[in-house]
Every structure is written in C-alpha cells, then in structure tokens.
Symmetry: D2
Subunit: 302 residues, 4 copies
C-alpha cells in the first residue's frame, strides 16, 4: 500500500521500518529531517512537509507526541499547508498517537466533512517492542476501514483489538490503560514506603507479592525500578504520565464519571513536578509516598 507516515520519534521510527520491511511504499515526514535518513536508505521517500507526506497516499499514519503536534501537522500554520488539506478523499487518516478524546472527536468530524476516513489506533508497547513489530494495537472507527488497514497492523504489531465504531473509544482505552499502570505505581509507592519504614526489604516484598499474587512482568519491571530508585534514563517521563492521567480525567469528566484514584494520582504527579521531578521516569511517582512517610530518597534531586 501507498502510505504517508508523519512522526519518526522513538516509536514512529521502528513502526515505519516495519511497514517498509513488509513491502509497503512509504513517504515519511519528520520535523527534524535528519531522523528520516535511515528510512530513506531503506527505500522510503522523504517529504519536505506534512502536506507532501499526505499527498497521493491510501493511508496517512500519524505517530506524534501529543495533541499540539497532531494539530500542527494536520492543520498547519495555514490550512493549505496542513496534511488534512492534502489528503485525498477516501484516503484514511490512521492516528496512532496517544491523544485526547476531545481531539479525536474533532478529527472524526473534520475528516467526515472532508470525505476522508479516520481511525484511531494507539498502541501498547515501548520502542523495543515496536522494533520487534510486536505492538498491541487498539483500533476504533468503521469496521471497513479497520479491514483496509489490517495489513498495516499486521506489519507493526502482534495483535489488533477493534473496540468500537467511534474512533475516540480507542483513545480512551489507551489512556485508561495508562491510568491502570499509574495505579500500580501509586500502589507500589505506598506499599514499599511502608515496607522500608518497617524494616522489611522492599525487594523481597516485591518478590513475594509477584510470586504469590500478581505473577505479572509489569509488576516485576516497575517494581524493580522503584526498589532500585532507578528513575533515569526515563522510559516514559513523569510529566507525560501526568498528561495522560489528566486526559483520562478530562474524558471521564465529560461523561460524569468520577475517578477518585485517578485524581489522587494526578495530585501526586503534580507534587513530584512541583518538587522538580518531571523529567524522571514516571515510576518516580513512588517517591511521593516515600517523602510523605518521612523517608529520604537517595536519587532525589535537590
């Protein structure tokens, strides 16, 4: 298939490579163009603007950092320069970024008005998972469009879930999944602070609960980061964790769904940021519980 791909960050880069390797024809765009060079060598065409990447493609994929970046490439400084305007009627915008429910709703309307297809298909998995084409993809939008994009999903991931016909549903699922991870971080932060202050070794406690109860690699991985206070380099920055929790709170608010645990987590993320910890890994949320218990964290920034 003829594909445009905008956004070659740590996730977009390996995803685009997977598509090339599966034999698709790619035109790629990134704000800082040197990032595109390896893909050019593997056969991709490099576009000079979002609009150019959107021209004459069947599917335009966007994989960007946040709402602002998505709005910038689609709508451009002026409408004519944006990708939206360049995208053909009947082409599909496949939005794989983690964006807000409200932007996803707005995109659905805008593309519908323009006679274009629109799918939201955010992913679970970090860059090394993307490099193995082993992402889990959560797609929403019209079933027919999901089918048209299936070869692309198969090239990038190990599985795709179709969660509904409204595209924003996929965004909500992704954000809620991230909230559930953050809930694990908060839980561990409190539990480990209690262990540390009581004299039980947190690493042994982690081993016990994951052996006897959770049996979850996610608990193992995040638990180890917290036990070792290894928050740098950040796999996923704390301020991005805050952003996602805010987006889920905001979506839930619009449906009158209170999420008191998400509120609590949001407040603790804010405390971490107020104390200068926004750039560390979001597992560093656990520091807040430790500080509140009067424990000093060895890696804490002054």
């Amino acid at each position: 298939m003829k594909i445009g791909f905008i956004g070659l960050g740590s996730m977009g880069q390996p995803m685009a490579r997977s598509l090339l390797q599966a034999g698709h024809e790619l035109t790629v765009y990134n704000r800082t163009p040197q990032v595109a060079e390896p893909l050019r060598q593997q056969g991709a065409t490099v576009a000079q603007s979002p609009a150019e990447a959107a021209q004459d493609v069947e599917v335009l994929i966007t994989m960007l950092a946040n709402d602002t970046a998505v709005e910038a490439v689609l709508f451009g400084a002026n409408v004519a320069a944006g990708a939206l305007n360049a995208l053909a009627k009947d082409a599909i915008h496949l939005s794989m970024s983690t964006i807000s429910v409200s932007l996803s709703k707005r995109l659905a309307e805008t593309h519908a008005t323009a006679g274009q297809g629109y799918l939201a298909a955010p992913v679970f998995g970090r860059s090394e998972v993307a490099a193995q084409a082993a992402l889990w993809i959560v797609a929403a939008g019209e079933a027919e469009n999901v089918e048209r994009c299936r070869p692309l999903f198969e090239a990038m991931g190990q599985g795709v879930f179709h969660v509904g016909t409204e595209a924003w549903m996929a965004n909500l699922v992704k954000l809620t999944g991230n909230f559930m991870i953050a809930a694990v971080l908060e839980t561990m932060g409190e539990a480990f602070a209690l262990m540390q202050k009581s004299g039980v070794a947190p690493e042994q406690f982690l081993e016990i609960v994951n052996t006897a109860l959770f049996k979850s690699p996610l608990y193992q991985n995040y638990g180890s980061l917290i036990v070792q206070e290894r928050y740098e380099p950040a796999g996923f920055k704390l301020h991005l964790g805050l952003k996602d929790v805010q987006l889920v709170l905001s979506a839930a608010e619009s449906m009158a769904v209170p999420l008191p645990l998400a509120s609590l987590i949001r407040d603790h993320f804010l405390t971490a940021i107020a104390q200068g910890q926004g750039e560390i890994d979001w597992a560093g949320l656990a520091q807040v519980a430790a500080e509140n218990a009067g424990l000093n964290q060895k890696n804490r920034k002054a």
Copy 2:
C-alpha cells in the same frame, strides 16, 4: 512431628490434612467439633479444648478468622483454660492466621515471657490452593524456629519466605499484599465504570489490558468477577476486605506512614457496607465506582 492445630475452617481443614498426609502426628481443635470428624478418620486426635490441643506438642498451629478468635483460644475465658498456658516451654506457637500487627507484637512478648517460641506465618492462597498444598507462606521470627518448622511449611506450601526476625513483619507483609489486591479492585472498578459509560465493552477492555499490559492471572480472575458482576458466593467477603485494609492502615499509622490509596479504599468499602453489601465478595468494591458514575448494577441488593 507432634503438632497441635487449632482452627479447621476452609483454610485450616486442608492445611491440617496436608500435615497428616506428610506423616505428622496431629491433635486438632475446632470450636464446632463436627468439622474435625474427617480429620479424625484420617488419623488425627480430636481435642476437647484449645488447652488440650496445645498439650505435649512441639508446634502449636493456629489458623483462625481474626484477632478475637486468636485471643480467645490462647488466653481462654480464664487463663488456665487457654492454649498459652498449656503449651510447653520451648514449644513453638506457629500463628498462620491473618491478624493485626499489634496482636502479633503482643503474642511475641507473651510467648517470650513464657519461654515459648513464636512465629507468624500467614499464607497467600485460597482453600483450593491449600488443598493442593500449594500455599505461599510468609514467615517471620527467629531463623532457628523457622528451620524447625520447615518440614511443616513444606507439607502445606510450595514455598516459604522468611522476611525478618520480628514476627509481626510477616503479618504486615500479608496485610500489605491484601491492600495491593484491593488496589487492583478499586482500579478496575473505576476503569470499568468509565468503559461501561463510554460504550466500550468491559470484558474486551479487560482482555486488552491483561493481554497487552498486566499478563496476570489475578487481574484475569478478579476482572472476570467484576465484568460479570458475579459477587456471590463470596470467595472473600467484602467486610473482611475492609478489616484487612483497616489493619494495614492502623499498622502504618503507628509508624507514621500515610497510605492515601488505602484510605480511599477503606472509605469505599465503608460505603459498600453502608449500602448493605458487606457479605458479597470483596470484588464488589467495584460497585461503588459504578454507582458514583450513575450506573445501575444488576445484582445490587436493594
């Protein structure tokens, strides 16, 4: 070994059987004596009082519902009638019940004064796990006593963790593990309420997050209960969940460790109880989030 075993409930019964099958000599006691009959047929001696069960044994195991029950069998209506008084010097009281940190501290002092050994060794696993002798055992107390009891742990469980020399540490680990499960219930309650109100099928959401993120049988099992609103018969009653969260809050308070997530869970358990749901499974905590989102629960008691 010559063992006394007090408390033949849904956990104690299969644990005692495992000990018999491993060739140990058992004297058992239960408040309602008919429960002891199957064990008698398998070779156990049935005692008429806690004191009788404690007489002439190397190890006295207690596996009871709560602090009150443990105090009743140990201290008796009058001291002479209690098991404590009947237990030989140098014998070990192996307390496997889920009890409070403060009672465990008091038992440690009392047994030390009496020249008796004391271990706390609560377990993770429900009755069917106990029946397979596959419990995980968390032990604390003097290492020498743990070694003396190792054959018993091996008869009842698939593994034992020694978490410290202070017996109460094991009780704290057990309670904190239960807090972590309750945190999963709260998280799911909020996430599923959001899914339900937004139109995403909760069962599909559960499949997605457990496939892509948690990969945890515990998430699968509790998630299924909540998705299906299958809260009866209760595997573990909601009011017992409240009790354990209260015990962890109380222990944490004595060490000046705030646990805001445990406080939130406690408040939601109280709401469930105020609304008549104390006897359902503790997974029913999820109902509170659903109610708060204006959703009606089909199994809700009026």
Copy 3:
C-alpha cells in the same frame, strides 16, 4: 462616565442599575433584549449588538455566565462584530464575570495588543447584595486603571480589593474563594451525615458549632439549607459549582499546585451530576456524603 454594560442577568441587572443611579451614562446589551427594558426606562440606551455597546465608551463592563459567553461577545461570530473591535484605544474592558485564569490571561494579551486597558474585577455577593450595591469587588490589573474605575466600584459595591497588577490574579482569588465555600459544603455534608446516622439532630449540631466555633453567617446559611435539604430553587446551581472547582484545579495545575481537597470535591460534584442532581443548589453536594453513608435523602430525584 460613559459606560457600556454587557450581560443583564440576575447579577448584571442590579449592577447596571446601581451605575445609573450613581449618575453614569449607560449603553446596555443583553442577548435577550427584553431584559434591558427596565434599564431603558431608567435612562439607559439599549444597544443592538455587543459592538454597539462598546462604541464610544470609556469603560466596557462585561458580566456574563462563563468563558464561552465572554468570548462570544468580545470576539463575535466574526471579529468585526465583536465588542473588542469596537472598543476605543485607551478605553478599559472591565471584566466582572467569573471566568477562567487562562481566558483572563488571553484577554490581557489581546487588549494590550489593541492598546486597550483591561481589568478583571469579579465580585462576591448574590443578586440581592448587588441590588443593595453592597458587593465586594476583587480587582486586578494596572493600578492606574483601577483608579479610573473606582467611581464605578463605589457605585456597585461596599469595598474593593486590589490584589495585583496581573488581571488573572483577581479571577484566581474569586475561584479560590468559591473553592473554600465548596469545602464548607463538603465538610458539613460529612459531619451532618455522621450526626444523622448517630442520632444527634443535625440542626442542633449546626447551632452548636456555629455558636461555639465558627460564628459565621455563611455557615449558618448553608448549614440551614443542608439541614432542611432545601436545594430548590437553586441560589447557585451545582453544575456551576463543579465548573468553578474545575477552573481552580486547572489554574492550580498550570502552576504545579496540587489541591487534593478540591479534587475530592470535584469528584463528589461529578457523582451528584451523574445521579441527576446538577440543577439543584450546590449545597446539595452534601447529599453525596449522606448517600455514601447509606442514608436516604428525602428530596433526592429518582
């Protein structure tokens, strides 16, 4: 002074009348024009558009329901039709509505670019207080502009506080004041639920704490509403209470200030709304605590 006045709701109407009575020359505008009739009879000129109300005035006052309404009158369907464009250079926009900190910042920039003055001056007091020209006014912006508007403040209020040179500071003070009232409502909701369930008469409890502790007419007034469950007609609707708490949370978030009590209140307002209570008085927040305690509220909508 020559004044434009946009927004003749329950607050704007008596405020405009106070200005007329103090001898100022008024051109008024309201979306539904019949509301302007009484003011016309008292000497006001009635404008046909926001732009017309802004023409040739020294000060343009806006007193509107929310951000959206303020944006609509200032920026219009097209820019030319909005009040902003019609306002003279050196004239002052005196924004008295309860709006967000972010809109207030945007207005400051926009007016500065246009060479116009801008003050935020939200008020404390309900319509009956406005009718007595006894409002408390919280003003922020350049001191010189505050001085120019002082005769207007004196005509409408019993006092003015100048809280800073950045206009948004006044909006933040107003919103934070409303958060503090909401905190009283939450506190009373919990306290009265406890009294009711324990058998202490809530009205006597209110009398005791207000006599012995608070001695505050605000506690008396809101306390009486809650004790009597008199939530209709609404003095200030619950969904507007939610809006203000959201605005304070949003402003605080941008400064990395966690407000856990505001988060808790927000979640309880959401529950009330999810359960169909958005149109009752915001004192009805207390119903959430009563419901959570298993108490039935007599006025509760099904």
Copy 4:
C-alpha cells in the same frame, strides 16, 4: 455542691477555679500534686489519689488528656485504687475530657452497673476561655443528671447544649467539631499555597475571604497563624489534632459512615508527623499543602 475534680491541666485548673468561685466545695487531684497548690490556697482540698477525690462527692468531674489518662484514674493500677470504686452509688461521674466514643460507651455501661450516674460533657474553648468561665459545654446523658449538674455548667461556661440521652453523643459532637476545624486548616493550607505560588499575598487573600464570605473569628485566628507561619508555641498540638481526627474516623467507621475529607486530613497529619512536625500547632497542617506545591516553609524543622 460537693465535688471531686481530677485533672488540673491548662483546662482543668481554670475550670476548677470557676467552681470554687461559685461557692462549690472541691476536692481536687492531679498526678503532679504541685499544680494543685493554687487551688488549695483558694479553698480546695487536695486529694492524694483519684479514689480519695471521688470519696463522698455528689459529682466527680474528670478533665484529662486522653482515654489512657481517664482509664488510669478510674480503674487504677488495681480496681480498688481507682476512682470508680470510691464513687458513691447515685453520685455522677461528669466526664469533660475529649475522649473516644468507645470509651464513653464503656463508661456508661460500667457506671450503670455500679448504680452511678454518668454524663459526658466535653467543652469548646481554650484555657483563656475557661479562665473567663465562658466555655461552651456539650452535654449528653440522662436529662435528670444534666439538671443536677446545671449549676456546675453555669459556673464554668456561658452555655450548655444537651444533645441526647446517650453520653457518647456529646463526645461525638466534640470530635466532629474538631474535625470541622481541621477541615478549615486543610482548606486554608491548599488555598494559601495556591495564592503564594501565584503571587497573591496570602494575608490579603485572607482579609478578602473573611470580609466578603466567612466573617468568622475562627477563620481570622487560624488564618493569621498560617499566613505568619506562627506554629509555636502550640495552642493545640498537631499530634493531638491527629488523635481527634482518628477518633472521629473510628467512631464513624463503627456506624459505617465514610468521611473522605477526614481521611485526607488524617493522611496529611501523618505526613506532618513523619516529617517531624508533631509538636507544633495543628494549624501547621497547612505546611503539608505548601510542601506539596514545592514551597519552602521558613519555620520548617529540618
């Protein structure tokens, strides 16, 4: 009347003096006897034990720090030495201390069994208010006993409220009043942190909200302490504030009444204590909100 008075702390001392001045005959007892000297000079008899203070009196007043102290004087090291045993049948124990609901229930049973009367009558007001005989007294118990004690209430206070026939109701009212004050402290802590970080002067903010909204001397007094970070000497120590909030949570729990705001306050008190601030005034609760916002408190102990 012939009165025994046990507990001559900062509250008990002036209360006992008021009774002497009203012409009552007093036998006083305090653990550290030198405190009783001024009262002896004013005509009181000084007892050598709690039992001696309880002998031959119509009413025995206790005004002690907490449950433990009350239990110690009533039940003694051995029962014979305690005040309970020495108190005549038909005499009244008038318990004015701030104690738990559960101890108050236990006292009611114990005195009933002994054929003695029992009233709980905790007070609102600090020592300077007690010195002016201007306390507010909250009494509960049988109406007849309240009448018998009325001359004493009139000697010590400016008013008495009879809240119910169950004595513990008065204890609950007192504790809930203290919770409501703590809620003001939490509210101010959050609001002032937001003001400070935004650049609005907290003292001006306090002036505004108390002038325009609350009009409450309590807001004025506590607000000033927080604005000036004047937490020493402590009028009421932070760890005592925690104790009272715990007692109200515990009483509410026994009635299945969740108090999420009280839970939040409890957690913040614990944080303050974990960080070494237990001995400062409870208004120092506000420090937690400031710390969480990344603000440094000038008086903070390292």
